[in-house]
């Protein structure tokens, strides 16, 4: 093992590697999420023609005009909502269907949730690096966190959440890939300066 002993690495390397790491995690999440969907469909005997429409996550509409920070903010916010929905779905499933079982589905579900968390850490870091305020926690208002009470609807709701995670993971990949590290640095640095200046003011 080529041990890299790094302490306090900062600057462009961090942002560059963070974007790359975030993209890699997003790719991983997408892969794991696809497995989760497959397991869920298999578990619930859903066929591919089971369609769920409408978005559970509500963010600002995408636009090519958005700045990197805003793109990251939008992404980060959506992923935050996804994680909240996912946590709620897991909780509801365990409430309704009983917990403690540790099968492949449950393992994969946990893995997706954890991976989403890691992705959020990266996007949050990028957002911070890009000048976005860390304090600005995305609002979870308006999310259907309780979910339906009817079992079938609950299952569909869970399925919709998984699909929502899958969707926003793919969006994350797209967004991050379109976010070159150099550009990020260039765009991050002024914003950080601007933020600092505004803070000072």
């Amino acid at each position: 093992m080529a041990a890299r002993r790094t302490r306090g690495t900062t600057g462009p390397d961090v942002s560059r590697s963070t974007v790359a790491r975030a993209a890699s995690i997003a790719e991983q999440l997408r892969y794991e999420c696809s497995i989760l969907l497959e397991l869920y469909r298999e578990k619930e005997s859903f066929t591919a023609d089971v369609l769920v429409d409408g978005r559970l996550v509500s963010v600002a509409p995408p636009s090519s005009q958005l700045a990197t920070r805003d793109k990251l903010w939008r992404l980060h916010s959506a992923l935050m909502q996804c994680r909240s929905l996912l946590e709620r779905a897991i909780a509801r499933e365990e409430e309704e269907l009983g917990g403690g079982k540790k099968g492949d589905y449950e393992t994969q579900r946990k893995m997706v949730k954890d991976r989403l968390s890691y992705l959020l850490i990266c996007t949050g870091e990028l957002l911070k690096t890009a000048g976005g305020t860390a304090l600005l926690t995305p609002s979870l208002e308006g999310l259907e966190l309780d979910g339906p009470t009817v079992l079938f609807e609950l299952k569909l709701w869970v399925y919709r959440i998984f699909k929502e995670v899958d969707y926003w993971t793919k969006t994350a990949i797209t967004t991050l890939e379109a976010l070159p590290s150099v550009i990020a640095k260039e765009r991050v640095m002024p914003s950080r300066v601007r933020t600092t200046r505004s803070t000072r003011r």
Partner: protein
């Protein structure tokens, strides 16, 4: 000098003691510190003792003592703080934990003496070392099923020493940066943390180990790395190597990566080796792209089985995958067939039996199907190619199969050249050739060939032959009828035989220098790869015992059972309680034991020795002979010869000394009563009563022919018939018969006189003699009257004895008699000279003397001889005319 801090400490102690309750109220000494102290070995420790609630003792009465020691702490180390307090500073040296006691002298007062427990206080000292900085921290997360396990395992190395009193504990800290912290403690050098079910790929991890004990703590270097750098995946699976006919040297391999590529891009490493090759060939890493699942190998040998392995790396290199074996496709042979020959002499002919043999080309690149050969005996031969089909079987031991191409008889004075190509299913090899020169025209051999065994191989070293032109060398090794060879380039001076040699087998190793296809004379040595003791002893032949020696014979151990060079044989024989050993050279197959005892049983056995050991023959026994061969026969022959000699000597004695014997054994005593003389002459009365007169002293023997009898004694014919019968019977028994030997000399004399011719012609009936009774007989008594002569005649068929035929003896005797006659009667000398027969007749007369007394009388009466001579003369006269 007491410091302000110490005073404060004392004040604190004084204030604190009452609060402690009963024990302190009863104890008058107290130390600072009071609790167990962990001390670093090599440092100094300072303690203070204070007197409380008593005036029985002062600081001067206090002393310090360490447990497990005899003496008190030296007073030099004490410091008196005031009248009621004393401190001590001791160096911490030993590893063992100890108690440090503060005590008061007991003799100070009776109270102190009676209450020693109240004047003592102790503090426990535990000693150790501060923790060393952990080094070489390394962590790994291995693959579990299709994902990486969240179990994060680390190990490290400790530095510095520890004691059991002050153990060091290690805490493994793993931080997923911007996420969670994980830690676990252990006293060992490895630990695991669970990173929460999901391994944080692509997240940065910070890892360090903290070592801590009672004397301090220290952290290892912090390792901050991508979590993937700690990952060790499984090796790639489903390795397949696909051989393609169009790419015989470049098979395509593919595999399945162990983990989804979203977990990270994997690096790969590939290695391969031909089966039987000890070394791996690694594909350069720079030639292998990341995150691939297929690769085309290059520069492999066609038609060769290869083992291929792959491994991958995310963080750590995975293990190598399982072996994947694939055989590359066939290609045209790219090297010449390896052709060679064996030559055997043909007895009685000026020819050689040549066998051309060949191995497949080194780069056969496929299965050789045919060999095409052409043999050229003359320069301008235009021969066709012969195709030899090959069985196609392959050697199981990796050795190339030897194919017999051609057997032929080749005249000694002829040369021959062979051209060979080998073909597989794809194409034909380049052509090889081999030239066998006429006998006696071979090129010189290499010099100084040495062959030895080392490291399980046979090594050869040689010096090139004189002159240049050697293009290569062929090393040949032969065992029995197995021949194999290998080629070496012309610069080779030292090499090892690459073939599969067997241990305990004798090989004849030869080096041939090759001059552009022309074969030089070989230099050869016999050698074993590994020699050992023979498997069996020599086979014994039948012993050939003698009287004091025995010849032992044996047959050499068969070559395949010999397992080494026989250095010598030891012959052991045991007989009469002693065992003897004789060593003979290894090329001996018989030996004669000597100085053995006769008629003794000997046990013999023979050991055959190599440098590695020996083997013993069966034990054979023989018993030496009582007599040497021929000894008995010699004795018998000797005895027989001796007996024969004795018999012969006896016979000779009898023959030559018959008279003496007869005289001694059977002395003749004439029996006058039986004398027939009286009857011969009836005119004279028998006078046998007087021995003198009975002795026949004047008897003469006269040989006559048959006809003589008729002519000479014509006038006596009248009386002959009368006398004949008597004389025959009488003379036979007394003079001529086998038992008597007295008369035969007389007869022989007479026969010899006349010659043997006559005797032969008278084989049937021989008239031996006529006994003449001369007048002299009667004349012993002088008688003036003329006496009538009486003739006695004898006839017999009895053959003459040898002695009777011997004239020499008679001559000697006759000469003696003649001398006597010369002296006695010179008048008759001329007569004697004229005819030797007459002497013999006289000799016969002498020999017929029966009594020595008569001789004397004869000598004394020469006149009587004269008278006998006169009558004799008359007979001669009648005889001579014949």
């Amino acid at each position: 000098m007491v410091s302000a801090g110490e005073l404060l400490l004392l004040a604190g102690l004084v204030l604190a003691v009452p609060a402690k309750g009963g024990f302190s109220q009863t104890n008058h000494l107290v130390t600072a510190p009071q609790t167990t102290q962990f001390l670093e070995i090599g440092s100094n420790f300072k303690a203070t003792c204070m007197i409380i609630n008593t005036t029985e003792v002062t600081a001067d009465d206090l002393y310090w003592k360490l447990s497990k020691t005899v003496d008190t702490v030296s007073k030099e180390l004490y410091t008196k703080l005031n009248e009621s307090a004393i401190s001590v500073t001791i160096p911490v040296t030993s590893v063992q934990s100890q108690w440090l006691f503060c005590r008061a002298k007991e003799g100070k007062s009776s109270y102190v003496y009676l209450n020693p427990g109240k004047f003592m206080y102790g503090v426990q000292l535990k000693k150790g070392y501060p923790p060393g900085k952990p080094e070489n921290v390394s962590c790994v997360a291995v693959q579990e099923k299709t994902t990486i396990s969240s179990i994060f395992s680390c190990q490290w190395a400790t530095v510095g020493r520890q004691t059991s009193d002050v153990p060091t504990e290690y805490t493994l800290n793993v931080v997923v940066i911007h996420s969670q912290n994980y830690n676990v403690s252990t006293e060992g050098t490895h630990a695991q943390v669970d990173l929460g079910d999901t391994y944080p790929h692509f997240m940065n991890l910070e890892v360090w180990v903290e070592a801590h004990n009672k004397l301090g703590k220290i952290e290892s270097e912090h390792i901050t790395q991508d979590a993937n750098s700690f990952v060790k995946t499984n090796p790639p699976s489903d390795i397949k190597v696909i051989s393609e006919k169009d790419f015989p040297t470049s098979p395509l391999m593919n595999w399945t990566q162990p983990i989804d590529k979203t977990y990270g891009k994997l690096k790969y490493e590939i290695r391969f080796c031909a089966i039987g090759s000890p070394n791996w060939t690694y594909v350069p890493k720079s030639d292998i792209a990341m995150d691939i699942q297929s690769f085309r190998l290059q520069s492999l040998q066609p038609y060769t089985e290869y083992i291929t392995q792959v491994r991958c790396q995310l963080g750590y290199w995975s293990n190598w995958s399982d072996n994947t074996t694939t055989k590359t496709a066939e290609d045209r042979p790219t090297s010449k067939p390896d052709v060679w020959r064996t030559i055997a002499e043909v007895d009685g002919k000026n020819e050689r039996r040549v066998q051309f043999i060949s191995k497949d080309p080194v780069f056969a690149n496929g299965r050789i199907i045919t060999f095409d050969i052409k043999i050229q005996e003359q320069k301008n031969d235009n021969l066709q190619w012969d195709t030899i089909l090959v069985n196609g079987s392959e050697s199981s031991d990796g050795q190339r199969v030897i194919t017999v191409l051609k057997d032929m008889l080749l005249a000694d004075l002829k040369a021959v050249k062979l051209y060979v190509t080998a073909s597989n299913s794809v194409g034909k090899s380049p052509m090889a050739s081999l030239l066998i020169l006429a006998k006696g025209h071979e090129y010189p051999p290499v010099k100084g060939l040495k062959v030895w065994s080392a490291e399980g191989k046979l090594w050869l070293q040689w010096t090139p032959p004189n002159g240049s032109g050697v293009s290569e060398y062929v090393v040949e090794w032969v065992s029995g009828d197995q021949t194999d060879w290998q080629r070496e380039n012309k610069h080779t001076r030292l090499t090892a035989i690459k073939g599969n040699l067997e241990e305990f087998v004798r090989y004849t190793v030869s080096v041939y220098s090759i001059y552009s296809g022309r074969i030089g004379k070989p230099a050869s040595k016999e050698v074993y790869l590994k020699d050992g003791a023979p498997l069996e002893g020599p086979v014994r032949l039948n012993d050939k015992p003698g009287r004091n020696e025995a010849e032992l014979g044996w047959v050499e151990i068969p070559l395949h059972r010999r397992r080494g060079f026989i250095t010598n044989y030891t012959i052991n024989y045991k007989g009469g309680g002693e065992t003897h050993e004789i060593t003979v050279p290894g090329n001996t197959t018989s030996y004669t034991l000597k100085s053995l005892s006769s008629n003794t049983k000997y046990d013999t056995w023979i050991n055959a020795l190599t440098v590695r050991g020996s083997a013993q023959s069966s034990t054979q026994s023989f018993t030496t002979l009582k007599y040497a061969p021929g000894e008995v026969e010699g004795i018998v022959v000797g005895v027989s010869l001796g007996f024969l000699f004795v018999v012969l000597m006896t016979m000779l004695l009898c023959v030559y000394k018959k008279d003496v014997i007869k005289e001694n054994l059977w002395p003749r005593i004439p029996n006058p009563g039986e004398s027939t003389i009286g009857s011969w002459s009836p005119d004279y009365p028998l006078k046998a009563e007087t021995p003198k007169e009975n002795c026949l002293s004047g008897i003469s023997v006269l040989d006559v022919d048959v006809c003589d009898g008729k002519s000479v004694f014509e006038e006596d014919k009248a009386c002959l018939p009368l006398k004949k019968d008597k004389y025959l019977s009488e003379e036979h028994s007394s003079g001529i018969g086998g038992s008597s030997c007295m008369s035969s000399p007389r007869q022989s004399v007479s026969d010899s006189d006349e010659g043997s011719d006559m005797a032969d012609t008278t084989a049937s009936t021989v008239q031996y003699s006529s006994v003449v009774a001369s007048n002299g007989y009667k004349g012993q008594t002088p008688n003036p009257h003329p006496q009538q002569a009486v003739f006695s005649r004898s006839e017999s068929t009895q053959p003459l004895l040898d002695s009777e035929e011997n004239p020499d003896m008679m001559i000697q005797e006759g000469s003696r008699q003649s001398q006597r006659f010369k002296q006695e009667n010179p008048a008759e000398i001329h007569l004697l000279e004229m005819d030797q027969q007459q002497q013999e007749e006289e000799e016969g007369v002498e020999s017929l003397d029966f009594c020595p007394l008569d001789e004397e009388s004869e000598q004394t009466n020469p006149s009587e001889g004269q008278s006998a001579g006169s009558s004799y003369m008359s007979q001669r006269e009648g005889y001579r005319p014949q």
